[in-house]
């Protein structure tokens, strides 16, 4: 890669990281809808936008820099309390995220399309259009605080705002002085922060060189406490911290400036109680409360904001539910705010590695495994030549065997470690999908509870990347076609809000992902009609098909060409593409649907593609490997079980369905054996199934598939070769190609 390309890749990688963090933070904000936003969270989001802006500007990415600039502007007003967060603002921020992602994807290809430019321009105009009213210029509460000018001089605008908020609310302010040793002050300071966090807000951390000396450093923390002095002192026992109260002069003039911009109440604890008691006091005086309420309404209208500022006691806006709620179900309890001390730490301990490097390392491990196998063989040989070998060489053989076993264990650990390094939580995709759901639901006028669980389940990075498109398709279909309008749902005796859920679960070496909805379901009779009309199946085939087989027709290419199929309650849009995507990942897809009750798609995916577990099978004395990911079950059959339908061998499986068969010996031109018993390996990829007839089963083994070079590359039905360690190279079956072959045979007959 040349220098410019490398710089671009670096930019795209870091920006993507920032945008991902931004997405997570916005999701948390979204979940807190209707509540006063957490100042730390808002500031974190602001910081993300700010970093993105600086980065994009530095690398000449004007589109991204422009949007980041305008988003940052809006966020700045939010965090400085000049604007209140309502649904409209939040939606706009979430939309910005989509545009960032779009622009980043284009930037990576060194593009910037005119349609993207239009979208950017339009969004920027809207971001700027959000009301901007400056706080009325009364006396600055900060002037009432007894603080040396040199201390005040180091506050950023944001820190100043937070301090101002604390003064305005009458929160007790402290200067906490803590001296540390220079070598480990960060640990001490982090510990101090952990203690302080639950007690209030650390507004600023100012390092000071006195009393210092060469090895010391002291910090002055400006702290807004929501607990009493005694409690604060008790909590700081055992730390080097000393506390000094900061004096605040009472406000000049009349009462609290409750007027123009209502101050947001404190997050929790003391300050809020005070707020609440003030509200109660004024409510006792009916007249007064009424007029204040009107005043507040008036003000927020004047600001162009909505009523969602929760200091306006109760407004219809905050009570009504948003059209989309995203609910996270996690085993670790509710998601934590992204800006905790731990997360700061983990950020600095993360290394970004190109996946190609991990692939290269994995290949090296594969080669080491082969060398180990050779060593094992040599050790074995030395031990077995008992007659000719001397005692010394036998002992040598034993030692070699011992060392080789040691090597084997370490190689296993290395391989496992490399696999783990490739793993990322599937939640990365889920977060993106949650935003998509919001958008589509809004467009379609549907009301949805989107329930996510299992986001912590880990998958190979490459698989997670490839998953987002198919999941997006399925979820889009669920909302577009599966979920009914609120009115229809009510008429059918269902709840007004539909449920769409996305769930991941680890099952051994596989990850199971389920997308389900409680919508209208799929009408299999309509599916059959449609498939017949489009000539995808024959009348004879249609008669033989059971419900499950009929449902699977929706995965056929050409099943549905229209973007929306209104006569059929839903699906079919691009599902053949979904099937292909999942198939490429060696995954399996299944659909279940009940008319009137809903639909669910089940995806089963391997955890990784770097190393696969294979089933070794014997055919006419030769060995082949079948990827175990694609194996559903193995049946033992006698020739009498196999029947012929339309010149094609099939097997009835437990009377449930008819399985097409292919004989491997015939497929690869080997002489067939006439044994009384066969094994049928039932292979599946995406939603298709095929029975592969083999002579014997030889066991399972982890393999690294190497592609075939030269003339062998085009052989159908073979995806590569693998070394089994004992210098035996065997061919690996390409289950996808075999299924395709079988499928096209079917269609030709149809």
């Amino acid at each position: 890669m040349n220098q410019a390309g490398k710089a671009l890749a670096e930019f795209v990688a870091e920006s993507t990281e920032i945008v991902d963090v931004l997405g997570k933070e916005l999701l948390v904000l979204d979940q807190q809808r209707g509540q006063e936003p957490d100042p730390d969270l808002l500031n974190g989001i602001f910081r993300s936008a700010h970093s993105l802006k600086g980065l994009a500007a530095l690398f000449g990415q004007e589109g991204i820099a422009t949007l980041a600039h305008h988003a940052e502007d809006l966020l700045d007003r939010l965090r400085l309390g000049k604007l209140s967060l309502d649904d409209g603002v939040l939606d706009m921020l979430i939309e910005s995220l989509d545009v960032f992602q779009g622009m980043l994807a284009q930037a990576a290809r060194e593009e910037f399309s005119p349609s993207m430019a239009m979208r950017l321009k339009e969004l920027v105009a809207r971001l700027d259009g959000v009301g901007s009213a400056e706080a009325a210029g009364e006396e600055d509460p900060l002037d009432r605080l007894d603080l040396e000018p040199q201390v005040r001089a180091v506050f950023t605008e944001y820190e100043e705002h937070r301090l101002r908020e604390n003064v305005r609310r009458g929160v007790a302010l402290w200067r906490i002085r803590a001296p540390f040793d220079l070598s480990d002050f960060d640990t001490g300071l982090t510990e101090l922060n952990v203690r302080l966090k639950p007690l209030g807000e650390v507004v600023s951390t100012l390092p000071s060189s006195e009393p210092g000396g060469a090895t010391g450093i002291a910090f002055d923390l400006i702290f807004g406490a929501k607990v009493s002095a005694e409690e604060l002192e008790a909590k700081l026992q055992g730390t080097p911290a000393q506390i000094f109260a900061l004096k605040v002069r009472p406000a000049t003039g009349a009462a609290e400036p409750m007027g123009s911009v209502a101050p947001p109440p404190a997050k929790k604890g003391g300050a809020r109680e005070e707020e609440a008691s003030r509200t109660r006091a004024s409510t006792a005086d009916g007249q007064e409360s009424g007029s204040r309420m009107e005043q507040a309404l008036e003000d927020s209208r004047a600001e162009g904001g909505s009523m969602s500022d929760s200091s306006v006691v109760s407004s219809p806006h905050t009570l009504s539910e948003p059209p989309v709620r995203t609910l996270m179900l996690s085993e670790d309890g509710p998601p934590r705010g992204p800006r905790t001390e731990e997360s700061l730490r983990s950020l600095t301990q993360t290394v970004r590695v190109d996946i190609g490097r991990l692939d290269a390392l994995m290949n090296t491990v594969g080669e080491l495994l082969l060398i180990k196998a050779n060593l094992q063989r040599m050790a074995e040989a030395a031990r077995q030549q008992q007659e000719v070998a001397t005692a010394a060489s036998r002992q040598y053989g034993q030692e070699l065997a011992r060392e080789t076993r040691q090597l084997e264990r370490k190689l296993d650990a290395l391989q496992q470690g490399l696999l783990e390094a490739r793993m990322v939580p599937v939640g990365q995709v889920f977060d993106k999908l949650a935003r998509l759901v919001r958008r589509i639901a809004r467009e379609e006028g549907k009301e949805i509870d989107f329930i996510i669980s299992g986001g912590e389940v880990e998958l190979d990075k490459l698989i997670v990347e490839e998953l987002s498109d198919p999941l997006m398709h399925i979820i889009r279909n669920a909302i577009d076609h599966g979920v009914e309008s609120p009115e229809t749902r009510l008429a059918n005796g269902k709840s007004r809000r539909a449920r769409v859920s996305l769930r991941a679960e680890q099952k051994g070496n596989h990850v199971f992902i389920e997308v389900s909805d409680d919508g209208a379901g799929i009408d299999e009779l309509l599916v059959r009609e449609m498939a017949l009309k489009r000539g995808l199946i024959t009348e004879v085939q249609a008669r033989e098909m059971n419900r499950r087989e009929l449902l699977n027709l929706i995965f056929l290419p050409g099943f549905s060409t229209a973007r929306k199929v209104s006569t059929l309650s839903g699906r079919g849009v691009g599902l053949d593409v979904v099937k292909n995507n999942i198939g490429n990942l060696s995954g399996i897809i299944d659909v279940w649907s009940e008319r009137g009750q809903g639909t669910s798609f089940h995806l089963t995916l391997p955890v990784t593609l770097a190393i696969i577990r294979a089933l070794l099978v014997g055919v006419s004395g030769r060995t082949y490997a079948v990827p175990l990911n694609s194996v559903l079950e193995i049946l033992s059959v006698t020739p009498g079980d196999i029947r012929t339908v339309e010149r094609r061998e099939v097997l009835d499986v437990r009377g449930e369905h008819t399985l097409p068969l292919v004989r491997m010996a015939r497929l690869f031109g080997h002489p067939e054996r006439n044994s009384g018993r066969h094994f049928v390996v039932v292979a599946g990829l995406a939603q298709e199934r095929l029975g592969i007839v083999v002579d014997e089963l030889q066991g399972q083994q982890d393999i690294v598939v190497n592609s075939l070079g030269g003339r062998l590359q085009g052989v159908r039905g073979i995806s590569g070769a693998t070394d089994l360690g004992n210098r035996r190279t065997v061919l690996v079956l390409d289950v996808g190609a075999l299924l395709e072959e079988a499928g096209s045979l079917d269609r030709r007959r149809a």
Binding site: S51, E72, F155, S209
Partner: protein
Amino acid sequence: MKFKVLIVEDSKASREFISAAVESISGLEVISTSSGFEALKLLPRHRFDLIITDINMPDINGLELISFVKQSPHYRDTPLFIVTTEGREKDRDRGLALGAAEYLVKPFSPASLEGLVRRYLKLA
């Protein structure tokens, strides 16, 4: 003797951009860090001839770092540049008031940074 320059910037890509610009001047050694805390630790271990810092950082902000440097008898004479993003003039003004020598607004060209570094280190 080589001049030593400290770069404090939490974005990796920005840090590398700035480092590359400074390192293009021969005879300079660059030490860079992503955190204000780390910068505080690095200060006594080296004799820096120049410090370049961002304002917005997660642990301590750049203004606090400037204030610390300018109050310390050991470092107060070290020239200090602020790197800010457009639109944050208030923070920039405070940095200058605290004693920062120069400020650079992103985006800036490597050449403009290089020029400033040469001027303050009195390099040809």
